[in-house]
Symmetry: C2
Subunit: 417 residues, 2 copies
């Protein structure tokens, strides 16, 4: 089968060698090819290398598309491994409360926060959810994201949680999606005095969700005033038995032991990790659990502390980064997260690139086909407006993505938003 | 003369009442008109009000342009009152040094930093400078900036400083520009052992710069290892005598007394102000000096402390915000600065809007014609993609500007970048 596309005149192609997650810190060296070209056939990458070699070996179809990259930098499409992007409504009105000093838990306890979104979400049909989701995914893709993980968790009842998972699958958007069931994201008002009853209800959904393929992962918010360690263990153990892969929200505000517990159960990732301790980091390393850090959320909850990104990388952990896109952190752009990780977490440009491509793909179990520019991998590729990736974090706050190639198709950057 | 344009179906028009700077804090209430319209003639705003009234009173020319704002939010074009956007080269390679812990002064002392940019800048002709400047102004305008202040200061010799000021005036870009002579921005290597000799040289340029109209303001970097308090006073006093208006870079790293001294000399603004004390704030209030805060720079120099924005506003100071766009803080987007001011400095959305429109216009002496949507003011207006301005800071990292109206002309948001 002849190739349908060639990207040529690439000034600098940056990807990572090998496959799977890239261990952090000093080992984190990218693979850089100058004057490169890439061939694409049937949505997959068929060749990557110096332009001269690729032109020589290319088997292009008669009407193959030749894209001149004008000497610019080309990187893998970004993978966002932690979002809550399917929900109803907007919570911009809470900014005032937060600027007045209210904490995330204050707002939650005052009946705002997640419970407000729950009401707005329960009111929507699958079609309405898809419409809001697509609008957010348009923005994400314009800014370079080509694959996302999406969690349910704003329904907090059986019907709405299923509707959310259905919406994730129902959209025709070109964005690749991985669905995570996060039923135990908060305790809904109906179960205020019976959190274990709610947890039982969510656990009862697991076999159906797994069988139907509505979600690939299960996740729980292990946090003070939400679900404690034993509740979290109970839910994740049941999810594992039902055949789902695991994730955990842990150590965002209080350290309840969720990270270590999740890692021991084989969680693919543990996310947030602001207050993780040495034991948690070691448990992640031992079990191959990927730390997913969320610097956008630190901004929107006015948190001055930072997670231990540098130490994690020095231990060899493959740090991944995500937007955490949700009504309390309305950030679609992984480019912004890359800059925050650099300026706030002190990760280098190469480290943030690994953290939003190879490592974030591994954090959603797609390290074997996403997050690299490599033969056989999906043809999700970004042509930047500049000659280096460093420029993306150096010159932050503007969109550096010129062209998105998604599954071998050119997505115009003006796709309706 | 009939009007040439009407913006109608504006869901929410936000501007500020009165004229001149808006005192901060609790007094900082915007003027909001719902279902509004605006008429424009000869580049000026000719009418603002409820759509019904404006349609009734409008005197539109036969071929007047009618722009439907689709119920979205409309705000004044943003004014960026502190930039160094005319320079040569790029310093993205310093990110690594900075992530390794080098301070601004470390990099400066190691011969990098500003002296590297000086070399790259000296090598350029006026035409080359204009080309780089225009590219940066394109990005700024796409993100909503319609007026900028631009400082010289990367030439650090007579010829190049004059060339920089010439470039600011020579560009045909639609962006409105105010030029500031910042000759004493650093001590060039030629004068390493004779800083006063360099200062004398810069002072000797002042009469010519004032007479020729090449700059409207003079500015100096009053800082440890740069220019001390007495040198700064000497320069600003001479600039004032030459007929230039004054600005000062003060209290960024060390407090040398520059803010109080500048305010007492009648400086229009004092900028940075990270380590200003009570006396400095009081001197600004007494003398009508506007504090210009630069939260982007705090990020790029890895500074965790913040300037006293809230206290300044509570004292009634009209806080302004700017990008500080320079090779050490490559930020064109005032939308990003607005978000950082909100999440880091804890200013409210209304306060950041005042700080980037009415107050930033006042900080460059243009409060009587820029920074408001008001009859007689320049027709610099933004149509946002959303129905509120809060959304710009809530949903940060993406461009919320749909259409830029600059001096009554529609600037397409895809103007070549």
């Amino acid at each position: 089968m002849a190739d349908e596309m060639i990207l040529h005149n690439i000034g600098k192609l940056i990807t990572f060698p090998g496959e799977g997650p890239v261990p952090g810190g000093s080992m984190n060296e990218p693979l850089i090819i100058e004057d490169a070209a890439v061939t694409i056939g049937e949505g997959k990458i068929t060749g990557v290398g110096p332009g001269k070699d690729i032109w020589d070996q290319a088997d292009l179809s008669k009407d193959a598309e030749c894209i001149d990259c004008n000497g610019k930098c080309v990187v893998p499409g970004f993978v966002d491994p932690h979002t809550h992007l399917v929900f109803g409504g907007s919570r911009e009105f809470e900014l005032g409360m937060k600027l007045g000093g209210a904490s995330y838990l204050d707002i939650l306890n005052a009946g705002g926060g997640i419970l407000r979104t729950m009401k707005d979400t329960r009111a929507l049909t699958v079609e309405q959810l898809v419409e809001q989701m697509d609008r957010r995914m348009n923005k994400m893709m314009i800014y370079g994201t080509t694959t996302v993980e999406i969690k349910s968790g704003y329904g907090l009842d059986v019907d709405t949680e299923l509707r959310l998972l259905e919406a994730i699958g129902a959209s025709n958007h070109p964005m690749d999606r991985v669905a995570t069931f996060l039923g135990p994201h908060a305790i809904p008002p109906e179960y205020r005095y019976d959190p274990d009853g709610f947890l039982d209800l969510m656990i009862s959904m697991l076999p159906q969700i797994s069988r139907s393929g509505l979600a690939e992962y299960a996740d729980i918010f292990c946090e003070r005033n939400v679900f404690d360690l034993e509740q979290s263990r109970r839910f994740l153990t049941a999810a594992k038995e039902a055949g789902l892969k695991l994730k955990i929200h842990s150590d965002e505000i209080a350290n309840l032991g969720g990270t270590s517990m999740g890692a021991e159960l084989g969680a693919v990732s543990a996310d947030h990790l602001l207050v993780s301790n040495d034991k948690d980091l070691e448990a992640m390393r031992k079990n191959g659990t990927i730390p997913v850090l969320l610097p956008g959320t630190l901004m929107t909850i006015f948190e001055d502390r930072i997670p231990r990104a540098i130490e994690m990388m020095e231990m060899g952990l493959p740090v991944a980064l995500a937007t955490d896109l949700n009504p309390n952190c309305m950030v679609e752009s992984l480019q912004l997260i890359q800059a925050l990780a650099c300026y706030r977490l002190r990760m280098t440009p190469n480290q943030v690139l690994a953290a939003t491509t190879a490592n974030s793909a591994a954090a959603i179990g797609m390290g074997d086909r996403k997050g690299r520019i490599k033969e056989g991998y999906d043809a999700d590729i970004l042509i930047l407006k500049e000659g280096s990736f460093d420029h993306v974090v150096y010159n932050f706050g503007v969109n550096h993505v010129d062209t998105v190639i998604k599954g071998g198709n050119v997505i115009n950057r003006d796709i309706g938003w």
